[in-house]
Amino acid sequence: MTGIDQSGLDQPRPPTTWMRFRRQRAPMIGLVLLGGLFVIAALAPFLAGNRPILFADGEGLELPVLAGFTQEDFFWFAGFGAALLAFFCSKFLRRIRPSLSARQGRRVLCLLLGIAAAVIAAIGFSWPERLVHDDYTPYRDGGREASLCVFPPICYGPTEVPLTNSLDSPSLSHLFGTDRQGDDVLARMIHGTRISLLVAVTAILVCMAIGIALGAAAGYFGGWIDALVLRLIEVVTCFPAFFAVLAVLAFLPPRIFWVMLIIGLLRWPGVARLTRGEFLRMRDWDFVAAARAMGLSNGRIMVRHILPNALAPVIVSATFGMAGAILIESGLSFLGIGPASCQSWGRLLSEFRPYFDVAWWLSVFPGASIFITVVALNLVGEGLRDALDPRLKK
C-alpha cells in the first residue's frame, strides 16, 4: 500500500483575528492614524511648544522641555513610555527566553506593566507644581543666540504672550494660521489632542463597564433580571443624546469629568444589548454546561469562560463608540458647554466661532482633526468587524 495522503490533516493554521485585520489596507491606515494621534498627544510638548528640547549655552546640555513638564505632561509621556516598553517586551521576550509559554509571557508582561504603572503613579501624583519662569522665546525670535537650541517642530506653545500676528492666514511659519490672540492654531490643536482622546477613552470605559456587566447578567440569568435590564435599556435609549446630556449638565458643575461620565452613561445600552445577545447565545452551549458540571460558580463561568468569547462584537462596538464619544464631546464643547480650561478641538472651534467669516482656517483645521480622528476610529472599527466576522463579506 503506497503512502496515504495525509496532507489533508495538516491544514495550515487558520489566520488569527489580528492577521485578518492586518490584511485590510484601509483599517490599517486607520490604526496607524490612531497610533499617530496617541503619539502626538503623548509627546505634545516635544512637538509644539516654546521651550527648546535641547539647549546648551556654555553650561552643559539642558532639556528645558522636561523642566517645564506639568503633571499632565508627565503622565502622558510616561504612559507613552510604558506602551513602548510593553511593545518591545512582547516582541523580545520570546527571543530572550524561548522556553516561556504564551501564558507565562503574558504574565510577565502584566507584571512589568503593573510595576511600571505603580512607579508612574508614584512619581506622577507627587509631581511638584513648579512655576517655570525662564523664557526661551528670545532664542526663537532672534533676540538672543545660543550654541545649541533645538526647538520643537512647531515652535509655539498653545498659549503665549500675545503675539502681534493675530488672525494670520496659514503660512510657512504658522502652518494652520493664527487665532485672534496670535496663538498658533496647529500648536493649540496638538495640545487639544489630549483631551479629545482622554474623553473618548474614559467615556468608552465607563460605557463598557456598565454595559458588559448589565448585559452579561441579563443574558446569562434571564428571567426578571433580563426583563429589568431590557426595560432599562429601552428607557435610556429613549433619551436623545444631546438632550440628555444638556438636561443633566444643567444641574451639575461644568467639570470635564461629568461630561465623560454622561457620554458613557448614554452609550451603555448598545454594549449591553450586544453582550446580552452573546451571553444568551452561549449560555446553552456545551462548554458552559461542562463548566457547571465541574462545579464552577456562575460568576466564574461568566467571567472566565463566556466573556472572552463574547468580547468580539463588544470591542467593535467600543471602537465605534469612541468615535461617537468624540463627536458628542466636541459638539458639546462647540456649543460652549464644559469648562473653558479644557482645550479640546470642539472648544477651539467654539472659541474661534466669531471669526469664522474672516478667517476660514479657524473653522477648517480644528474640525478636520475631529473628522480625521473619527474616520480613523471608524476605519479600525470596520476592519475589526470584518476581521471578526466569519462570513467574509466584501
Binding site: R231, L232, E234, V235, V236, T237, C238, F239, P240, A241, F242, F243, A244, L246, A247, V248, L249, A250, F251, L252, P253, P254, A323, L327, S330, G331, F334, L335, G336, I337, G346, L349, R353, F356, D357, V358, W360, S363, V364, G367, A368, I370, F371, V374, V375, N378, K393
Partner: protein, 360 residues
Amino acid sequence: MLRYILKRLLIAIPTLIGITIVTFCIIQLAPGDPADKSEEESVVATTFSGQVTREVVERTRQLYGLDKPLLVNTRVWESDRDEYRELGFFGRLGAMFTDAQYPIWLARIVTWDFGTSYQDHRPVTGKVWEAFRVSLLFQVLSIALIYLIAIPLGVLSAIKRGTGTDRAISLLLFLLYSLPNFWVATLLIVFLAGGEFLDLFPPQDLSSSDAAAMGGVAWLFDRLWHMILPVICLTYGGLASLSRYARSGMLEVIGQDYILTARAKGLSERQVIVKHAFRNSVLPIVTLLATLLPALIGGSVIVETIFNIPGMGRLLFESFLARDYPVIMAVAFFSSGLVLLGMILSDVLYMLVDPRISLE
C-alpha cells in the same frame, strides 16, 4: 392588528414610567440648598451665564417640592406637622402616597403641567409646543429625504457590488458618516452663506427679515430656501448610515436561496431584484426608524442653534444657558416620549410589512 397596537402600547407603559423616573432623578440633581455646598460645587457659583440666583433655586425647590420626601411621605403621621393637621385618617393615608416628590411630579406630568418658564414666565407647555411644531417639520422632512435617498442608493450599491460605482458610493457614505455635524454646518455657512466665499444661502433663521411682506408663493420659496442648509445638516448623517444598512441588507438577501429559486424560475434580473429581493431587504430598514429618531432629535440641538431655528433643540440649549429648569425638564421628557412613540411606530410598521411577525 388593532390588538397588536394596543398590546404594543401596553408594553410601552413601563418604559414611559421609566422615563418619568429617570427625569425625576435628574431633577434630584438640582441645587437644593446652596448654603450647604462648597463654593466650588455650588451651581450658583459656577453657572454658565451667571444669571442663576438664589431666587431661581428657591423657585425650583417649590416647583418640584424638593424639600419633601422622595417616594412616600411618612411625615404625615407626625403630630406636630401643621400642614397635615386637618386631614383625617384616610386623608393622611392618601397624602402619604401623594404628597411626595415623585407622585407630585407624576401628577403634574399627566396633567401637562410643566410649570412656567423662569425666563419669561410663560407656561412651559406652550413654549415647548411652539418649538415642537418647528422641529417637527424639519424632522419629518429629514426622515422622508433619508429614506427616499438611502434606499435606492443602498440597493444600487448592492447590485453593483464590487464595481467602481459601489466603491465610490461606499467611500462617500463612509466619509459622510464620519463628519461632525457642527463642522459641516459651520463649513456650509462659511463657504456657502456669505463671508468671503459664495453667498448662495441664508446663514440662519426660518425666513428673511422681510418675509412678512412677501406674497404666498414667494414666502414659501423663501422658507424653503432657508431650510435647505439645515436640512442638509440634519439629513446627511442618517442618510449615510441608512444607506449602508440598505446595502448590507440587500447583499444578504441576494445571497439567499429563494433568490436562486426565483432566478431558476426564469425571472429576469430586474424582476428578481424588485419583486423578491427588494421587498425582503426593506424590512429591517423599517425598524431603523427607531434608532434614527433619537439621532435626529439629538442632532437638532446643534443644527438649530447654529442656524438659529426656533425648534426644540435650540429651546433646550437656551434654557440650559439660563438654567431654566422647568423648560429643560419638559423638553427632556417630551423628546423621550417622542422617541418612544417613534419606536412604537416602527414596530407597528414592521408588523404591517412582515408576514412573519405575529402577536407575541
